[in-house]
Symmetry: C2
Subunit: 121 residues, 2 copies
């Protein structure tokens, strides 16, 4: 057992690319990922799972077909499974995404922003 | 669908008791709980699940049989399933606990600190 605390700031310091999730922890079959985001992601949905967003620094918007949700530091949102969404951040924003292991960042949409093999940091 | 961000500070403001977890979100069968802790909890383990602790304000220690882990704000730890642990906080500490719905706070230990019906806030 690794007896070291996982420090979120130290982990974020190792992330240099936007929209490139990195795994920092696992609980059963659930992955905890850190992502730095800026700009617009692609519209997509996850047919099999809900997806949790927690904003740790900065601010973002999760665009939804029926409007959207603005999140700032210390706020979270659960996108229900099957619901189309598009994460957007005007300025760089640091987030935690929590979802089952193997969940693709682009869901059903695919495309250039897909990260097939998410690395641990 | 509730289109409101979940603000952690606002949720914590509604918690007045120590060691009394409140549910603020659900992802599939996983619950996200907020807890204010102070003092010593009971030694216990969860035979069926890992358990995630994230410190949002203050500091705590997760005592383990082989030592323990100190966590401060912005740090997290995953207690593996079956591993005996005892959360401790000298001063009040605000944490998020993430685990499957229905997981008892005192695990296999039972006793007075057990919260059978965890409420949503």
């Amino acid at each position: 057992m690794d007896l070291k605390a996982i420090n979120l700031e130290e982990k974020f310091a190792r992330i240099t690319e936007h929209w490139s999730p990195k795994i920092i922890a696992q609980m059963n079959d659930t992955h905890f990922k850190l992502v730095k985001i800026q700009g617009e992601f692609v519209w997509h949905s996850h047919a099999e799972t809900d997806e949790v967003f927690i904003v740790l620094a900065g601010a973002m918007r999760i665009a939804l077909e029926e409007g959207g949700v603005d999140l700032k530091e210390g706020e979270m949102f659960v996108v229900p499974k099957g619901v189309a969404h598009k994460p957007v951040a005007v300025e760089e924003c640091s987030i935690m995404v929590i979802e089952p292991a193997g969940t693709l960042n682009t869901g059903d949409a695919g495309g250039d922003m897909t990260v097939d093999a998410v690395e641990w940091i």
